[in-house]
């Protein structure tokens, strides 16, 4: 019997591995913000949560976002608050950064930069993968 199943019998609930895959730029569509809301909700259920940023999703983490001019909420500081919800596994695809002329130091939160192949392995090891 796995650890997760044993915990379930003790009433603590089964812990599954959830990965949220963020592929959209912020502000242009609602996906990035909605994805972040779901991540924060998931934190309340004591699951093993990780976030992956690929494609235009890496733009969500860019430093220096100033949204006053477009009268939208700047939700980028919330990524730094994830740590407080015990969400500390943030993965960024190196290929996505490079294709956009970006580097790890351009990001506003500590992340693990990894190759597509490494990220693919992590994805394959999840119980649940949810894309935004």
């Amino acid at each position: 019997m796995s650890d997760a199943e044993q915990q379930g019998e003790e009433g603590a609930g089964i812990i599954k591995k959830f990965m949220f895959v963020n592929r959209k730029a912020p502000y242009g569509t609602i996906y990035a913000l909605e994805g972040l809301e779901v991540v924060l909700i998931s934190a309340a259920f004591d699951q093993d949560v990780s976030l992956a940023f690929v494609d235009d999703g890496v733009y969500q983490l860019l430093k220096g976002q100033q949204t006053k001019g477009i009268e939208s909420k700047n939700f980028s500081p919330a990524y730094r608050a994830l740590e407080g919800y015990d969400i500390e596994k943030l993965y960024v695809e190196r290929e996505a950064l490079e294709a956009r002329g970006l580097a790890e130091e351009d990001l506003l939160v500590d992340v693990q930069v990894m190759s597509s192949a490494e990220l693919a392995e992590l994805m394959a090891a999840q119980d649940v993968v949810i894309g935004f």
């Binding site: 242009g28 235009d56 976002q65």
Partner: protein, 99 residues
């Protein structure tokens, strides 16, 4: 003609189609997620640079600032505010949004 592109060059081919079909002497305004095309080192940089020989290219400043890329704009692209957006639209006989 004022061409308006609001999609990321990585996500849609709106910019690509616009650059293919825009006539010399037209203006191109990048707004919303379209402004990522105006940043140095992006995938569309070379194509946009080529196009700048025949098109005047603008980008909306508020959208660059919102996305944290106002300091990464390629040389030769003029930044405009919302008033400048209106001036561009009024200054051209017509406009086309590449949604």
């Amino acid at each position: 003609m004022l061409h308006i592109v609001n999609k990321s060059p990585y996500e849609r081919n709106a910019l690509e189609s616009c650059l293919r079909l825009a006539q010399p002497g037209s203006a191109l305004l990048l707004i919303e997620d379209g402004v990522y095309a105006a940043t140095r080192g992006n995938a569309a940089e070379a194509r946009l640079k080529d196009a700048m020989a025949r098109l005047k290219v603008y980008a909306l400043k508020a959208d660059l600032e919102a996305r944290g890329v106002a300091g990464r704009v390629m040389d030769g692209i003029e930044l405009v505010d919302y008033g400048g957006f209106v001036d561009l639209a009024c200054g051209q006989p017509n406009c086309q949004s590449w949604l």
